[in-house]
């Protein structure tokens, strides 16, 4: 953990020892990039690509079919050790891979399995758990969701009240989880549950894997104000969970949860997806008119785009510094919090630009137009329908997964020692 000396360490340590500072790709890296790019171009189904490009709604099948394509290629879990199905790539290769996924307009990988519970099982799970769960995560046979937040415990995760009572070879779980993204798609949920209510807040919490198809589990969708239905409440009513589904030790769940938070760095900033989206801003601004000329020719708007583009460059090269330092073998502190809060701020800024581009055509509410299989004549330009919902929906990015305020608390504490 890095403290006050941070200004002279961590990010500042442009570590390693090569011949020259070089921001161009090596031949090997370039070949890798080309290979990934060609694979995506060849294998990503066109209808999925179009949905991603136009910010239309993806359904479960879109995610799963793309993940299976990656799985077949062996590229589903670049963040895993090779022995469990990882790729053995360097941090830079992983970064390039993420970038190509974004630039190629692929669906996001659902993170709950491969990026979240997977590493926890690999690090803390039993051999049996590894053999049972990891292959099915890789193959997308099992989809996962995350049972952390509760109605009474949002940012203050540790005050959770969902209880798991030991009863012979089982835990009996009662309680509720909320804001559970994709619970309606999921086969499994990894949960933080209270196993010792006498213990202090963060102690007495365990990390439990629960089959969503168990009796007593029910899911209620929560509609968000943009019109989407992607989050849910999950209720546990005397759900019986085999004790073998406990990860690690009882009452040590908080440790595993902390491991998970901030474990994933690559891609958390979303730079490549933001670059892609910013290119879309320019494309649409070239089509919209202002005083008879393309809006993109309006100096004011050009500079507004440029300002965001520069901020994005700053985040991109900071991300690269972190990746290169990782490549050089450095351990990191709260970098993921920096990448997350700046990344989401810029993602949101870009949706604001999109909204401004389309002017009055932000007003029509045409949810059918962004759903699967709509073929009617659009209202206004076809690209407009998805933009206001996107702007609204994207407000979540600074809230979910730890609000940006929480991220700053983390940086203040872990990096600055405040």
């Amino acid at each position: 953990m890095v403290t006050a000396t941070a200004f002279n360490s961590t990010l500042n340590q442009l570590a390693g020892a090569s011949l020259t500072m070089d921001l161009t790709l090596s031949d090997k890296e370039r070949a890798f990039q080309a290979q990934v790019r060609a694979f995506i171009a060849e294998r990503l189904p066109a209808h999925i690509k179009r949905k991603v490009e136009d910010s239309l709604q993806l359904v479960k099948e879109d995610y799963v079919s793309w993940q299976k394509i990656l799985y077949e290629r062996g590229w589903m879990a670049p963040n895993w050790p090779k022995q469990y199905g990882g790729t053995g790539w360097t941090p830079i290769e992983r970064y390039l891979f993420e970038e190509e996924l974004a630039l190629g307009s692929t669906p996001r990988i659902i993170p709950f399995g491969v990026a979240m519970v997977g590493p926890v099982i690999i690090e803390f799970g039993s051999e049996a758990q590894k053999q049972r769960f990891l292959p099915r995560i890789l193959s997308s046979e099992d989809l996962w969701c995350q049972g952390y937040s509760e109605p009474g415990a949002g940012s203050d995760l540790a005050s959770l009240t969902t209880r798991a009572r030991r009863d012979g070879e089982h835990y009996i779980v009662n309680g509720a989880k909320t804001w559970t993204t994709m619970a309606h798609y999921a086969d499994w949920i990894f949960c933080l549950v209270r196993t010792d209510s006498a213990a202090k807040k963060q102690e007495g919490i365990s990390f439990l894997l629960i089959d969503m198809h168990s009796p007593g589990v029910s899911v209620r969708p929560i509609r968000t104000f943009d019109g989407a239905e992607e989050i849910n409440e999950v209720y546990f009513d005397d759900v019986s969970v085999p004790a073998e589904n406990l990860v690690g030790e009882e009452n040590k769940g908080w440790t595993y949860a902390k491991f998970l938070l901030g474990h994933e760095r690559t891609g958390i900033a979303g730079v490549a997806r933001s670059k892609k989206q910013l290119a879309r801003v320019k494309e649409l601004a070239a089509r919209e008119l202002c005083d008879g000329k393309p809006l993109l020719e309006e100096q004011r708007f050009r500079e507004k785009i440029a300002a965001v583009e520069i901020e994005l460059m700053a985040l991109e090269y900071t991300n690269l510094r972190i990746v290169c330092a990782e490549q050089a073998g450095e351990t990191m502190a709260a970098e993921s919090s920096i990448l997350k809060f700046r990344g989401t701020e810029l993602q949101q800024a870009i949706t604001e630009l999109l909204l401004e581009v389309i002017g009055y055509y932000a007003h029509p509410n045409v949810p059918q137009a962004i759903a699967q299989g709509w073929n009617e004549e659009p209202i206004g330009p076809a690209y407009a329908a998805s933009i206001a919902p996107l702007y609204f929906n994207w407000r979540k990015t600074s809230i979910y997964g730890g609000t940006n305020e929480i991220q700053k608390n983390i940086i203040a504490k872990m990096v600055l020692g405040l």
Binding site: T178, F225, D291, R300, L355, Y361
Partner: protein, 377 residues
């Protein structure tokens, strides 16, 4: 100088606030918004009875002969209630169009009907290429015998499908984007050649794309002077801006109140989240932004009626810039401070945010009005 409400204005304010608080609950509002008509006819009759529809109608035409300040008081309360009735289009834009462009005959016909709640008006002033520039008009009105034949498309015409009369801006002369050569026409809803494609809007309202395909109107359909309607349009849109600014202030105040309540009640880490200093200061910034916006909305309301054109334009554009920026900040932060709860469709917060967002672009966004302001001296 007196920047305070008169007794009458306070009374109006109390009345409309009581109406909103008691009868315009969020659940009912949702039901009206989703109804066939998109709003409540009963309310509309009630508005007429209370005189609200006739604030901008002179007494000789059966109205109250009030000012933009009274309209702003209503709109502020309507903002708090997220009112879906088409007050803006009929009782602000509609009456302003008639006042500033209407002939004696047109006023006598329409103003009493508006005040009585019997006539709804819509105004089509935007086109797909126009963005916020009111002179960027390509819909053509061609002289044909005594009357005119209209062809073209108007974009995102608020409350058009429910309107009895639709006013449209057209080009009767000049090149595209010329100030000269723009004329206004009153078109009856049932006119052959007038077609609408209606849709809901993201803020719970209604709008339509309006297609004119050889729609024929008589000479009496001309509103104001042929070729010289731009000043009328600008004046009318300025009235609309003042109204949505006041509405936005009502929304901002409601969001501030909701957020403040949430900060005081929501517990995290063993205490109300309102004890966290970062959230306190954010809340202060929201509160101050709201109060600054309120000052600007009422300033613009006063100047709309009292000031000469340049000063009026500057006041109105300044208010729109202030409210556009404050609205975005307050809307986004209200959602943020509510955390995941703020994202839900169930809470009013997101709906206030959506309406505020739509107000941002209505009648020109902050960039447009900053430019108008900067170049107005």
């Amino acid at each position: 100088m007196d920047f305070t409400f008169t007794l009458e204005q306070k009374l109006l304010k109390e009345n409309v606030e009581r109406f909103i608080a008691n009868e315009y609950t969020f659940d009912k509002r949702r039901a009206w918004a989703h109804s066939e008509l998109g709003f409540s006819r009963e309310h509309w009759t009630r508005f007429a009875e209370l005189g609200w529809l006739g604030i901008d109608v002179t007494e000789e035409h059966g109205g109250l002969g009030g000012s933009a300040v009274e309209q702003a008081i209503l709109m502020e309360a309507f903002g708090r209630g997220l009112v879906v009735e088409p007050y803006l289009t009929t009782a602000v834009l509609g009456t302003a169009l008639l006042h500033h462009g209407g002939s004696i005959q047109q006023k006598q016909t329409l103003l009493p009907a508006i005040a009585a709640g019997e006539s709804l008006i819509a105004f089509g002033f935007a086109e797909s290429q126009s963005r916020y520039h009111l002179a960027d008009v390509t819909t053509i009105a061609r002289k044909d015998g005594d009357g005119f034949v209209l062809n073209g498309t108007k974009s995102v015409v608020f409350n058009a499908a429910g309107a009895d009369t639709i006013v449209v801006s057209t080009r009767t002369g000049g090149a595209s984007r010329d100030d000269h050569g723009i004329s206004l026409f009153l078109i009856e809803r049932q006119t052959p050649g007038l077609a609408l494609r209606e849709y809901a809007t993201v803020d719970g309202g209604r709008a339509a794309e309006l297609l004119l395909n050889d729609a024929r109107v008589g000479a009496d359909a001309v509103l104001g002077n042929i070729d010289n309607a731009l000043p009328v349009i600008e004046r009318v849109i300025d009235a609309g801006i003042v109204a949505v600014c006041a509405e936005a202030v009502g929304i901002m105040a409601a969001l501030c109140q909701a957020t403040l309540d949430y900060l005081k009640t929501r517990q995290q880490f063993g205490r109300p989240i309102g004890e966290f200093q970062v959230l306190q200061h954010r809340m202060v910034d929201m509160y101050v932004a709201c109060e600054l916006s309120r000052s600007m909305a009422y300033m613009a309301a006063v100047k709309l009626d009292d000031a000469e054109a340049t000063e009026r334009r500057r006041a109105v554009s300044a208010a729109k810039v202030q409210i556009g920026r404050a609205g975005r900040f307050i809307g986004q932060q209200a959602v943020q401070l509510h955390g995941a709860m703020g994202m839900t469709d169930e809470l009013a917060v997101g709906h206030y945010f959506k309406r505020l967002t739509m107000i941002e672009s209505t009648f020109g966004d902050a960039d447009y009005h900053l430019q108008r302001f900067a170049n107005s001296e």
